[in-house]
Each structure stands twice: as structure tokens, then as C-alpha cells.
């Protein structure tokens, strides 16, 4: 008995030493920028999984040809806010590619990203854009054509909770901005519009993928407010015979931004590769991959090529309509903000 115990103790000590040693070893590898192999971690949000799977391959090939260095890119996906928090808490991301500028601002405030990140790359550091549109069941049985159809009696709307989901914040703001324009900028009437809209929501999922599942797999609801890329992906995965995409008369220009995590790349010596990784998203090849994965390209030549795929509708930016993310976040989604007021009892 005693001997067994001794053996077990020795074994576990040896094991933990080996683990510790190998961990040190791999750290050293990463630290030397000159080595032939390099590893990048891209921390992103949920619906970009497929996009970055193809992009990473393309970038690795490009980088190898340009510098002779072999780069492997690891991906991490999850809710945008959650991902941002992991980076703040010490996840060693080299680059972040998140759903909202607000989530990157939070990392900047923690001191990991230098100020002015949003002007570092073109188009507010958003290499690709997207928008919010409506997905309905085949044949559009409820005749939904625009945002104001969502507040009609008997229409069930599926959207995640804007307080837990970055994507849902875009959904909410798109509907808000439409209501503002159609109520001559009257805020009270717009609030009433939003109250009616959310009274038609039977389930508030915590994330965009959850809402897609509720609508697509569980068959709940008449209309799903969704990212353009999620809607197109659902169509492709589940067949064209089940759903129709409805383009509202206007929507919001979603600009998912990218940034290098300055603090981490300086420590790990990966700055060159990380910066090139984001810059290459703007290249012809990067833009084509984005378009193939249902994100709207920003490069004119690629835009032209895919103009049939992405229907032209009037898109407003968050800066012109809401005065930027920080302001929109505070007014609408903070405690006691407008979203909370929509649910205040007695109103």
C-alpha cells in the first residue's frame, strides 16, 4: 500500500515536471520571432468561424511565399463580449476580429490595445461589412416586407437579447433607426414601436446562433432578425426550399472591426505577422474569401464582382445615426437604458 502511494507520488511529480518543462519549451519557441515557425491566435465571434477557416489557409500560403516563415493560425470563437473579456483576462490573442467596436474599446481601456486602433486600417478597421435583414419561412405566409410588419399582432419575431449578444445589438439598432425615420424622429413613438416589437418576441436567446437554432431547427416564430451572413448560411445549409430572405427598405451597416492586440504581439514577437494578417484581409484574395462567406466586401473591384449576391439597400452607419458605439451602448443597453425601459412593468 505504502509503496504504491510512493510510486504514485513520484509519478505525479515527474509528470508535472515534464508538463512544466514542455510548457516552458513551447513558450521559448513562440518568443523567438526569427524562428521558421510562428503561431497566431485570432480571437473572433461566433459567425466568422467558416470565414476564417478559409482565410487562414490563404494567409498562411501568402505569408510563406512572402517571408518563408510558416504560420499556423489558431481560432477562438464565441459571443463577442465574452471573447473580449477573455482577452482582457489574459487570453493571449494576437489579433481580435469582433462583432462591435465597443468590444475592442473595452480591450483598449484595459491597456492591451493602443489608442487609435480604429483608424489603423481602412474603413474604420472593418475589412468587410454586413447588415441585418429578415429571414422568413418559405412563401412568406405572414407577408412580411419591412420592419413595420414585425409589430403586427400575431407575428412572432425571433431575435436574441441585445444585452447578451453583440449581433442582437445590431438587430435592435436597425429596427430603432427605421422607426426613428418613420416617426419623424419622435423618440417616444419609436420606443412604442420597439415595445411592440419586443412584445412579439417569444424567446430571447443569449446569442445569434441560439436564435438561428430556435427559428430554423425548432420551427418557432415567423421571422428571424439576422446577420446577412447568418441568413445566407442558413439558406445554404438547409436548402433554399425552407426559407426566404426579405430585404427591408433600410437597415444598418454593421462594421465588424479588427485590431492587433499590441501588448500581446510585442511580448510574443509576432507583430509583423499579426499586422500583415489583418492587412491581407483588404487584399483581392482576402476580400474574395469574405464575399464567398457572405460578408460584404469593401474593395471596389470585388464589390463589383459580387454585386448580384449582395442586394443594394439603404444602409445607415452607427456613427451617423447613434453617434458611435459608446453612446449607443450607454443609451440603449446599459442598466436602466431604453431596452430595460421597454420591459419596465406597467408601461
Amino acid at each position: 500500500m505504502k509503496r504504491n502511494l510512493k510510486k504514485a507520488v513520484i509519478a505525479s511529480v515527474v509528470l508535472s515536471l515534464t508538463v512544466a518543462l514542455t510548457a516552458c519549451g513551447s513558450n521559448e519557441d513562440q518568443a523567438s520571432a526569427d524562428s521558421k515557425k510562428i503561431e497566431l491566435l485570432n480571437v473572433s465571434y461566433d459567425p466568422t468561424r467558416e470565414l476564417y477557416e478559409s482565410y487562414n489557409k490563404a494567409f498562411a500560403a501568402y505569408w510563406k511565399e512572402k517571408t518563408g516563415q510558416e504560420v499556423t493560425i489558431k481560432q477562438s470563437h464565441g459571443g463577442s463580449g465574452k471573447q473580449s473579456r477573455s482577452v482582457i483576462d489574459g487570453l493571449n490573442a494576437d489579433v481580435v476580429t469582433l462583432a462591435l467596436g465597443y468590444d475592442i474599446d473595452a480591450i483598449q481601456e484595459a491597456g492591451l490595445i493602443n489608442e487609435g486602433w480604429q483608424s489603423k486600417y481602412e474603413h474604420n478597421s472593418s475589412p468587410y461589412t454586413s447588415t441585418i435583414l429578415l429571414l422568413v419561412r418559405k412563401g412568406n405566409p405572414k407577408g412580411i416586407k419591412d420592419w413595420d410588419d414585425l409589430i403586427k399582432d400575431g407575428v412572432e419575431v425571433i431575435t436574441p437579447n441585445p444585452q447578451t449578444s453583440g449581433g442582437a445589438r445590431w438587430n435592435y439598432l436597425a429596427a430603432w433607426e427605421y422607426a426613428m425615420h418613420h416617426n419623424n424622429g419622435d423618440e417616444e413613438q419609436t420606443k412604442e414601436f420597439m415595445r411592440k416589437l419586443f412584445a412579439n418576441v417569444p424567446v430571447l436567446d443569449t446569442g445569434a446562433r441560439g436564435a438561428t437554432t430556435t427559428f430554423v431547427e425548432r420551427g418557432i416564430g415567423d421571422v428571424l432578425i439576422a446577420w446577412e451572413n447568418e441568413a445566407m448560411l442558413s439558406m445554404k445549409e438547409l436548402g433554399q426550399d425552407k426559407f426566404d430572405i426579405v430585404y427591408p427598405s433600410e437597415s444598418i451597416l454593421a462594421e465588424p472591426p479588427v485590431a492587433v492586440v499590441d501588448d500581446n504581439v510585442d511580448k510574443r514577437g509576432t507583430r509583423d505577422a499579426a499586422e500583415a494578417y489583418l492587412q491581407y484581409l483588404y487584399s483581392e484574395e482576402g476580400q474574395t474569401i469574405a464575399a464567398e462567406n457572405y460578408y460584404r466586401p469593401t474593395l471596389e473591384s470585388v464589390k463589383e464582382k459580387y454585386k448580384d449576391k449582395f442586394k443594394d439597400i439603404k444602409l445607415y452607419t452607427i456613427d451617423e445615426e447613434f453617434g458611435g458605439w459608446a453612446k449607443a451602448q450607454k443609451e440603449h443597453f446599459s442598466d436602466g437604458g431604453i431596452f430595460d425601459q421597454i420591459y419596465t412593468p406597467g408601461k
Binding site: G81, Q163, V203, S334
Partner: protein
Amino acid sequence: MKAAAVPNRGILPGFGLTLGITIFYLSLVVLIPISALLFNSTGLTWGKFAEVATDPRVIASYKVSFLTAGAAALVDAVLGLLLAWVLVRYDFPGKNIFDSLVDLPFALPTAVAGVALTSIYAKTGWMGSWLAQLGIEVAFTPLGIIIALMFIGIPFVVRTLQPVLQELEADVEEAAATLGSGRVRTFFSVILPQLAPPLVTGFALAFARGIGEYGSVVFISGNMPLKTEIAPLLIMSKLERFDYAGATAVAIILLLISFLLLLGTNLLQRWMRRNAG
């Protein structure tokens, strides 16, 4: 008799050492993380704390959390007693399989349980469509939360009752029967008093688990503010918006109420044990 002559020496060495290790581990895995929660410097002021504590949406979420967890634990206490009874007292083919099935909710990732329960109980699911015809909606209502929590909590009740039931000798019941007690009287005055303490323990464990449960509930509850939004979801929602102070405040209140409730059930259980003896 001889055992009494031996000084009170356990198998493990020295009281000091074992107590030291106990406190060390308890601190490492329970006390330090929880006090870190209490004292973390996220700018949680009394004002902020009071504001969060009196927010109608937060209060509603506590009601949802505690009421559904309580209801689920009560149902589990009754069903768990029945289950444990059958598993201990009767022999039937496949008994071992049933016995292992009881533990499955422990092992299953709660999110998987939530997704599975939702697809069964949603209006389009096979149980849900049937219940909907009777006018009962399960998914996206408090009833759905209760079902998810029943699933999560049942093993706690069964596993606390089983060993006690095994100890209960059948001859006590036989004696009661020969003295003229009917089945009902035997159950209520002979068996139930002895089972009450473990039953309360099982209830308390299932209840505590239900209060903190997140994964299985977010899928089936619908997460409607003021109606089916649970307190743990509000904590997540505040964290998602980088409101660490608010999240800490909700967590502290949750922790306090849970601690008081568990302390209460523990005292009740001790009192019953003393009175049962």
C-alpha cells in the same frame, strides 16, 4: 468493549494535520474564490449595490430562480423517494441499468440537457405538441425551467436517500404491521420520520443546485425579462456588458440568500435528526 480502551486514534494521522489539510483545501477551492468575489475591486459601492438590489428586473429574476428551484426540488423530493424506494426494495431485471441512469444528469453537460429538453418540450417537439393540445405550454415558461431543474436535481435526492433506505430494516415495518398498523400509518409514523433528515438534505442539495443552474435553463426558459429570466443569466448579461460591479452585486445577493436558505435547512435537518432519535 475493547475498542473503547484504545485512545481515540483515527486511521489518518494527527488531528492537527488533517484539519490543516482540510482548511487548506477548503480555502483553496471554496473560500478564496468566494471571498475574491466579495472583495473584488470592481467599484462596487453601497449605492451601486442598493441600486442593483432594488431593480425590479433583478428582483423578478430572484423570484423566478428561487421559486422554480424550490418547486423542482419539492417534486424531486417526492419522486426521488419513490425512485430510491423502488431501487432499494425491489428486484427487477435491468435494475443496475436503472440505478446507473439516475447518475446520468451528473455527467451530462447541462447545456446538452437544456437543448434536448427544449427540443422535446417546444411546441413543435413530440412531448410539447402533445401537451400544447391540452393547453399546457412548457418550453419558454416557468414550467420549462422547473422541468430542467428537476432533471438536474433528481440524482441528489435519490443518492442521499438510498443508503439510509438500505439501512432501514424491513423488520421494523413487519413489527409495526404485527402490532396492527396499516400501511399508511406504518409509512407516516415509522418510516417517514427516519427518512426525513436525508430527505431534507436531498431537497437542500437539489434546491441549491437549481438556484445556480445556468446551462440547461437558458435554452428552455426563453429568457424573457421579468417573466422567465433567471438570476444567473442576469449575472452573465451584466458581465457581457462589462458591468462587473453590477454582476458582483447580483452574485453577492444570490449567494447570501442561498447561504441563509441552506443554513436554515441544515438546522432543520439537525433538529429533526435529534427528534427522530
